[in-house]
């Protein structure tokens, strides 16, 4: 089986679904020619090259550039989805979502409900997120908690090339609007990815390590860090379960509760701002529903509540790391048992 990058895995998913289903179209800033380039040879294929080669293959009717007007083309994509196409709109950086919140929150997310279940909205919005790219505070955010907050949207955060391909194919085939988050520093990550199309269902967590001592829940790029932390901790005799929910909406809370029921300890790693993020949400649900299982307080590993710094050294310090995750695990392992202390 061939090794493919995160970029190739997503591109292959788009290509295979476009071959399978003629209603799948790609639209967005620079997905075809890009930067006003007229020809096919100098087509950018998106700012980081994910859709490169798709316009020459499928033509400008199915792969087309839009003006830099998110409110217009996201609204256009939502309407196209409600009337028979399966658009994949590229919103470039999630930081720009503020321009088109109405089209997403109030229109795409609500069509099914406002039209009595008679409308479906098979829309995918691809977008880049995350820090570590030296792109400063307006191009580095992790805004998935905001989308998770809105009923009617599905939110996908793939953690590897294999995951990205299967989740993208599921996103395109899904009849609800899906926001698909791609971490911009993961595009060159490589692993074995099948050539054939496959789907990974939404709302089913992936277990990357099995351990009896601590459950680490991590999302997106943080999954790799959590696995590195778990492997470090194994050398110290601490066995971690590492769980990747894959999607924050729907969220596989059942698997998280089941795992915490076995380990009694939880560390949640989230690259998003620490207030009202997925770590706080997951922690609250576990505290509410599995408090009796907990042997130690829940720990959250998130950045500080500040805009992403532009200074490279500060940006590095800002992010969660395998070392910070390992430290949080050691803290929950060292904490005295609640009942014993009582």
């Amino acid at each position: 089986m061939a090794k493919k990058s995160f970029r190739q895995a997503i591109s292959e998913a788009l290509r295979q679904e476009m071959e399978r289903d003629p209603t799948v179209v790609l639209m967005g800033e620079d997905v075809a020619g890009g930067a006003g380039a007229p020809g096919e040879d100098d087509a950018w294929g998106g700012p980081l090259g994910v859709t490169k080669g798709l316009m020459p293959r499928f033509g400008r009717e199915r792969v087309f550039d839009t003006p830099i007007t998110e409110s217009a083309f996201i609204g256009c994509a939502a309407g196209a989805a409600a009337t028979g196409l399966r658009p994949v709109a590229d919103l470039m950086f999630v930081d720009f979502m503020g321009v088109c919140f109405d089209q997403i929150f109030n229109q795409a997310a609500k069509f099914r409900y406002m039209f009595g279940g008679k409308a479906k909205t098979p829309l995918v919005i691809r977008t880049m997120y995350g820090a570590g790219f030296r792109a400063a505070s307006q191009h580095s955010q992790c805004l998935y908690p905001i989308f998770t907050h809105i009923p009617g949207l599905k939110v996908v955060i793939p953690s590897s090339p294999y995951e990205a391909k299967g989740l993208m194919i599921q996103a395109i085939r899904d009849d609800d609007p899906v926001i698909f988050f791609e971490h911009k520093v993961m595009y060159d990550d490589e692993e074995e990815v099948p050539d054939e199309p496959y789907v990974i269902p939404f709302g089913e967590a992936n277990f990357l390590r099995d351990g009896e001592d601590v459950t680490i829940v991590a999302l997106g790029r943080m999954v790799k860090f959590a696995v590195q932390a778990a492997d470090m901790l194994e050398q110290e005799g601490v066995e971690c379960t590492v769980l990747d929910p894959r999607t924050t909406s729907p969220l596989d809370i059942a698997s998280i509760l089941e795992s915490v029921g076995e380990t009694g300890r939880l560390v949640v790693v989230d690259e998003a701002n620490p207030r009202c993020n997925m770590a706080t949400d997951i922690s609250a649900q576990v505290a509410e529903r599995a408090f009796e299982a907990l042997k130690a307080p829940i720990r959250m590993v998130s950045p500080p509540h500040v805009p992403v710094p532009f200074s490279p050294s500060l940006e590095d310090e800002f992010l969660p790391s395998p070392e910070k995750i390992a430290a949080a695990v050691r803290a929950v392992m060292g904490a005295p048992a609640r009942r014993a202390a009582a």
């Binding site: 099948p194 199309p197 089913e204 277990f207 698997s255």
Partner: protein, 369 residues
């Protein structure tokens, strides 16, 4: 100098390059008989028992549980109880130095699967063994793939020209079925044999692959020189319908772990995370659920086997042997009873449905390899 024997990391299958000592069953100082299971070895594909190659006293565990080392690395030392510790130390030092020197030179590459075009679509095959050897075709069962023979095929390849294939709907082959009953699937095996220049072959089929081997023998008897059937379908009506339905439906690792555990006499202890991940990844491929559903409906509707091929075994001119694990929970070993006398029947008391994995070395010996 006393006799010292090296215990080394075994190569379990073509692709294995390293393995982990999952646990030691015996302590330093224990007397060990040749053939005794003294440790569990974990590979990405399976956990297998390590049988001592010699008799002696386990003097040293060189590798601790959880440690991963390359194939061929020293994991322990057997010696007489009287051998001095300094002798053991010297033996280990010398052995490690030689192993490091040999590791620097590259060994021959393992054979790689390839995809070939047939009239029925692309089929993935894995060939291994001497070109002049007797042709032997390995046919896997429902939901499996050619890697189910990863332990057995290298052993058989010492003597036979082996060819394992992925059936359509499985592994790396097309997910479009030309038909779902044994005869339709047998036609594909026949096409692959033709494509690879095997007019005649010994067929080894596991489970559904056994019924396919029998169907091919029925359709084209001149192409089958001998039959080896491991827990085959096609010899009786019973089959575990809950397992079949559960396998098609299973989506979560835990569900699948519990389900696959009933394949082996050893239960869950033999199942690795990589094995579960591999099956889940296969089941997610487009077309797989439809193919498995069609095969189940054609071969084992409502938990009963649709067709019997017992009559195919009546021809005394064709050597045939049946291998079964007594603890098989998918197809009962009693299906091996009442067959003609020329059919050799071998029942392993401590194996389940996967004797070709659980008893790979014994099975290879039954085939003279």
């Amino acid at each position: 100098m006393a006799d010292l024997a090296a215990l080394t990391m075994p190569k379990l299958g073509l692709a294995m390059t390293e393995g982990q000592v999952a646990s030691w069953h015996r302590e330093e100082g224990d007397t060990i008989a040749a053939g005794e299971e003294i440790a569990d070895i974990e590979t990405p594909k399976i956990t297998a028992a390590y049988e001592s190659p010699a008799t002696g006293t386990l003097r040293r565990k060189v590798v601790s549980p959880g440690q991963t080392v390359p194939v061929g690395a020293l994991i322990g030392v057997l010696a007489e109880p009287t051998a001095a510790d300094t002798e053991i130390d010297a033996f280990i030092a010398e052995w490690q130095a030689r192993f490091a020197a040999e590791a620097a030179e590259e060994g021959p590459a393992a054979p790689e699967p390839e995809r070939i075009e047939t009239p029925f679509g692309a089929i993935q095959i894995l060939e291994s063994g001497p070109a002049e050897g007797e042709p032997l075709v390995l046919i896997h069962g429902f939901g499996g793939d050619l890697l189910t023979f990863f332990l057995l095929q290298p052993l058989l390849a010492e003597r036979y020209r082996t060819l394992a294939l992925d059936l359509p709907g499985h592994g790396g082959s097309t997910k479009t079925l030309p038909g779902a009953d044994p005869a339709a699937l047998a036609a594909i095996v026949s096409a692959v044999m033709t494509a690879r220049g095997m007019p005649v072959a010994h067929l080894l089929g596991h489970s559904l692959g056994g019924a396919i081997a029998l169907a091919l023998t029925e359709a084209e008897p001149v192409r089958v020189s001998a039959l080896t059937l491991v827990s085959p379908a096609g010899l009786g009506p019973e089959i575990n319908g809950d397992y079949i339905a559960g396998f098609i439906a299973a989506r979560r690792p835990r569900e699948l772990t519990a389900l696959l555990a009933i394949l082996f006499a050893g239960g869950q202890s033999l199942i690795t995370r990589e094995m579960i991940d591999g099956v889940l990844r296969y089941k997610r491929l487009d077309g797989v659920t439809a193919a498995l559903t069609a095969i189940a409906a054609a071969n084992m509707p409502e938990g009963r086997q649709a067709k019997s091929f017992r009559h195919v075994l009546m021809d005394p001119a064709r050597p045939a042997q049946i291998v079964w694990g007594r603890q098989d929970q998918i197809i009962p070993a009693t299906h091996a009873e009442g067959l003609p006398l020329h059919v050799r029947v071998n029942i392993f008391e401590d194996a389940g449905h996967m004797a070709h994995m659980e008893k790979a070395a014994d099975l290879a010996r039954l085939l003279g390899s």
